[in-house]
């Protein structure tokens, strides 16, 4: 059995890559993809932890999996919404570069 540590390492790595993408990328589409990456990193973490902790205390395996399924569902909805917003953004301003979209200020 693979140690929980490796799953957490993988999860942390994916999360860090996603975070870097959100912070560093200019394209809104890539930012959305990075967010997906972060969400899935969390999913891996949750499922691994659930599997690892099964049988201790009141934990059961499904606890983690249920939340993971929730996250997948919500992520799907979020992607739909995010892509729609990006599409409108492109129609309005002919760009998806977040540098040029800076009206969220005073």
């Amino acid at each position: 059995m693979v140690s929980l540590f490796y799953f957490q390492l993988l999860s942390a790595g994916l999360f860090a890559i996603g975070l870097y993408g959100v912070l560093a990328r200019r394209s809104a589409v890539l930012i959305v993809m990075s967010i997906e990456l972060m969400l899935n990193a969390v999913n891996i973490n949750l499922i691994a932890a659930a599997s690892h902790l099964e049988g201790r205390g009141s934990f059961v395996r499904f606890d983690g999996q249920i939340i993971a399924i929730f996250i997948i569902t919500i992520a799907a909805a979020e992607v739909g919404l995010a892509l729609a917003i990006i599409l409108r953004m492109y129609r309005n301003r002919s760009t998806v570069n977040v540098d040029e979209i800076d009206i969220m200020k005073w």
């Binding site: 975070l19 959100v22 912070l23 930012i31 977040v98 540098d99 979209i101 800076d102 009206i103 969220m104």
Partner: protein
């Protein structure tokens, strides 16, 4: 009898209805106002009949609400309805029905009805006709609530309501600057007294734990409330009464209040609102007479000073309405004098008799004003020839108030003199007689100069009062003549007013012969003297005027009260206000408010440059925040 609350409610309902629907109703809503007060007058008779038939034993609707008051020793009925609780304080809507309330209800409903009918004629064609009647209704409602209230809180509410109605009606012709000024003056001067009243009520509440009058009286008489507190409360209540009843030194507002329409002066500034102070002292008499009745000494002195001062001014004033105003102040002083001399019955009786006579006089003066638009008696004369009815009723009012025997003013004044004679020392009776003498003199002067003698040029076209104005005057004239007969011991069950309205021991009608004859001789003498001076011209006052010129000057300037107040306001109040204003501007506003506000704004200007609008900079801040929190949490947990 428990339906007595309907009397003010009719009028309370009428006021907003007139404001909202008045334009679409006959007479711009005046009909509603008159119906409401007329309904109140009818209910008053029903209540009076029920009251006379009731006894402490008789149960009404299964509950015995009536009892014999231990203070007035007369039947008293109290009906209360809980309003709301707050902690251990319970507030109630409550009405009290006892002889004092009943006579006040009768006076207010009757005079208000008369004055409103009169106003139909007097105010005809005024652009704000409807508003006039709406405020009149509100005033009647508030005044009726005031006399019905069985707790100080409700009384105070009604007290302030009559004040604001008085303000609105004095300033009714607010296009005139003098009317605006007079309205403000009346409101502010009475407010000074009202603050005393409020503090007095709160003091009683703190001591007794309730606003109920009967509990306060109980505490004062059983000694549950210390002598010092009782005296302080009485003096504070008296302050409110002095403001409302225009006693020296708060009397300055009443003469100026004559800027209002004359029917308003008749109702509010002669017959009803201004006697609220006398009513309050009478109502709170158990507090005033508790312990050694020390507060009554203050009452008697205030009353005497007011009566004397005002009647001297009335002697030299030339404006018809102002003569009547000073006469009102003087008679209010007489009522206070009477209360201070334990003449409870006499004060209330004089209140009623004076109310009818003075309302009549004002309505008569209003009739003159209505057709001649002249207020100065020196430019009137001989009006009897062109307005005989007005001259007749005015003369009836004048000789009634002047104290000519068998008219009501004579009997009520005599009761006051008798009370003063019985309970106070000889100085008081001398000055009271002097006031009575001057009262007869100034009434005679006004009457003879304005209505008798030669008709002035240009007054030939003057018309008498139309019937809408004449009928109320005639009815009031009947009362001004005959009301005094109520004081006698008639054959049968009726033992004079003293057996109905009384405080403590009941007493029937009694007549102190030497006083009665003396005052009658003085009154008749005054009228004859005035007749000789102002009509026949056989006695000239020029020598006397020259001799007493300095005194005359002081009196003609109303003892310089207005000037002194103006000086105090200009030199003390306004200077103090300017200092306060400077403090407010410089310290509170500039340093206290603007400095923090400006620094926050400057900080905001600086900070907003860091807000780029770039999503990733926000995200970075968020991430760094999380990391920071994580580190913090890490170190805390280890």
């Amino acid at each position: 009898m428990e339906w007595a609350w309907l009397i003010p409610v009719f009028c309370f309902a009428a006021a907003p209805l007139i404001v909202v629907f008045g334009e679409r109703l006959p007479g711009k809503g005046a009909i509603l106002s008159i119906l409401a007060i007329g309904g109140g007058f009818v209910v008053f008779w029903v209540v009076l009949t029920a009251f006379l038939g009731a006894s402490p034993a008789s149960e009404i609707n299964g509950t015995a609400d009536c009892f014999t008051s231990e203070f007035t020793e007369s039947l008293t009925c109290v009906y209360e309805h809980s309003w709301f609780h707050a902690a251990d304080l319970e507030l109630v809507w409550g009405i009290i029905i006892d002889p004092l309330t009943l006579v006040m209800l009768g006076l207010v409903t009757f005079v208000a009805l008369m004055v409103q009918v009169y106003s139909l004629g007097y105010m005809k064609g005024d652009p704000n006709f409807g508003w006039y009647f709406a405020v009149h209704s509100l005033f009647a409602a508030a005044m009726l609530t005031l006399v019905l209230a069985d707790n100080f809180l409700l009384l105070y509410v009604a007290w302030e309501l009559v004040g604001i109605c008085s303000y609105l009606l004095i300033g009714f012709w607010h296009e005139r600057p003098s009317a605006r000024e007079a309205a403000k003056k009346a409101f502010i001067v009475t407010r000074i007294g009202d603050v005393g009243l409020l503090i007095g009520i709160l003091l009683l509440w703190r001591e007794v734990g309730s606003f109920s009058m009967s509990e306060a009286f109980e505490a004062a008489s059983t000694g549950a409330m210390s002598e010092g507190v009782t005296t302080a409360a009485a003096i504070l209540l008296l302050l409110g009464a002095m403001g409302k009843s225009a006693q020296v030194p708060f009397h300055v507002w009443l003469p100026d209040a004559m800027e209002g329409p004359t029917p308003v002066s008749a109702l509010i500034h002669a017959a009803t609102m201004v006697v609220a102070g006398v009513y309050l002292v009478a109502r709170a008499f158990p507090i005033f007479s508790a312990y050694d009745a020390d507060p009554l000494v203050v009452v008697v002195i205030v009353g005497l000073v007011t009566a004397l001062m005002a009647s001297t001014i009335a002697l030299v004033a030339t404006d018809l309405k102002r003569i009547l105003a000073y006469s009102t102040i003087s008679h209010l002083g007489l009522m206070m004098l009477s209360l201070g001399a334990f003449g409870y019955t006499a004060a209330i009786f004089h209140l009623l008799a004076h109310g009818f006579a003075k309302a009549l006089l004002f309505l008569g003066a209003g009739s003159v004003l209505h057709s001649t638009e002249e207020q100065d008696i020196q430019r009137m004369g001989g009006l009897r020839k062109v307005m005989p009815l007005t001259a007749l009723v005015f003369s009836i009012g004048a000789i009634s108030l002047g104290g000519i025997p068998i008219l009501s003013g004579f009997w009520s004044k005599d009761e006051i003199l008798a009370a003063v004679n019985d309970h106070r020392n000889v100085a008081f009776i001398v000055f009271a007689l002097l006031t009575a003498l001057m009262s007869a003199l100034y009434m005679a002067r006004a009457m003879f100069i304005a209505f008798y003698g030669q008709l002035r040029e240009g007054m030939e076209q003057v018309h008498d009062a139309p019937w809408l104005m004449a009928v109320p005057m005639a009815l009031l004239a009947v009362l001004a003549i005959g009301f005094g007969f109520l004081s006698f011991n008639w054959p049968g069950d009726y033992d004079g007013i003293g057996s109905f309205v009384s405080f403590g021991e009941r007493h029937g009608f009694s007549f102190t012969w030497w006083l009665g004859i003396l005052s009658a001789v003085m009154a008749v003498g005054s009228f004859l003297f005035a007749w000789q001076v102002y009509l026949k011209g056989r006695i000239s006052l020029d020598n006397a005027k020259a001799t007493f010129a300095p005194i005359l000057k002081v009196v003609e300037n109303k003892y310089y009260f207005d000037e002194v107040y103006q000086w105090v306001i200009d030199r003390v109040v306004l200077v103090f206000s300017r200092i306060i204003a400077w403090f407010d501007r410089a310290v509170v506003n500039d340093i206290g408010v603007n400095t923090p506000a400006n620094s926050v704004r400057r900080l905001g200007y600086t900070l907003r440059l860091h807000v780029t609008g770039h999503v990733y900079s926000y995200t970075l801040a968020m991430v760094l925040g999380f990391v920071g929190l994580g580190i913090f949490w890490w170190f805390r947990s280890t």
